[in-house]
Subunit: 142 residues, 2 copies
DNA sequence: TTTAGTGTACTATTGTGATAGTACACTCAT
DNA sequence: ATGAGTGTACTATCACAATAGTACACTAAA
């Protein structure tokens, strides 16, 4: 498996998220053909039926387009992909805030945590790949 | 239900976490008796069998103590509870870093996110409830 | 002793995720 | 036309979470 699975959540949901994240990271480009159901099943080490379900649901969401007999393709709409980045970022941030808030932490614990975050993200590459207008606030989703 | 359930994860796991978080927040004190299996089932709006499983697993972990015919009680060991706070905090932080990192965000997006976090946590009460030695680093777990 | 309130054990049923295997319809290049 | 490679449909099976209902053993107070 190319990524770690959470045994407490359905595999097909995690693979759906993994495919979206790959598109967000540019591993899958807009319009690019995805591996076939059978190939993706081998890569993910799951049953082809599970991948079939993943593709069916992603198609339902409009994230991929399936052409019978030809294959499945990432949407051509790059804004659709960027929207996923925004959603993932906003969801992760809000969940983190909720998780931390409900722990009733001390100020010191919060400060330790925030400084670790700064350190973790200071390794950003420094090149802002956004166009300016294309940069969305991950928190507000605007 | 007193809290929101994630439909993609087993209920019994989420209730286990909820009980631990209540202890961390002081809603349940060390040694305090928990509601009976049947009462907790009513409060959580789930089947008593589900709560029975929750108590069984929490007993297995040493987080609660069950005395047959008497009831179930939060552990007397307050350091056991504090350890949960540390674990939840560390897990939430690491997951957040992983979630954000794999989105390949721009510097601006990361800055927006961090400033939202600062704003969210600036509302801390200012009183450091730790004793000094009792303050654990949520990130390293030491 | 009786009774109410504990946790616990048990069977049965339902729904869903995941697997295994087979088969079919479509597309495209040969 | 043939055949390889697509997605898709179908049945069957298994595991697990969750529910429903019943029953039992223990504890403590009336």
């Amino acid at each position: 498996m190319a990524f770690l699975l959470d045994p407490t959540r359905p595999i097909y949901l995690q693979i759906m998220e993994e495919i979206k994240k790959r598109a967000v990271r540019g591993l899958y480009r807009p319009g690019e053909q995805l591996p076939s159901v059978r190939d993706m099943a081998k890569e993910m080490e799951v049953n082809p039926n599970t991948i079939a379900r993943v593709y069916r649901e992603l198609e339902q969401e409009g994230f991929i387009e399936t052409r019978r007999g030809r294959g499945s393709f990432i949407t051509e709409d790059s804004s659709r992909i960027e929207a996923e980045r925004t959603k993932f970022g906003r969801d992760a941030t809000q969940r983190f805030i909720r998780d931390i808030t409900e722990l009733d932490m001390t100020d010191k614990q919060i400060q330790d945590m925030l400084s670790l975050l700064k350190r973790s993200f200071s390794g950003a590459d420094g090149k802002d790949k956004s166009t300016g207008e294309g940069t969305h606030n991950v928190c507000t989703g605007e």
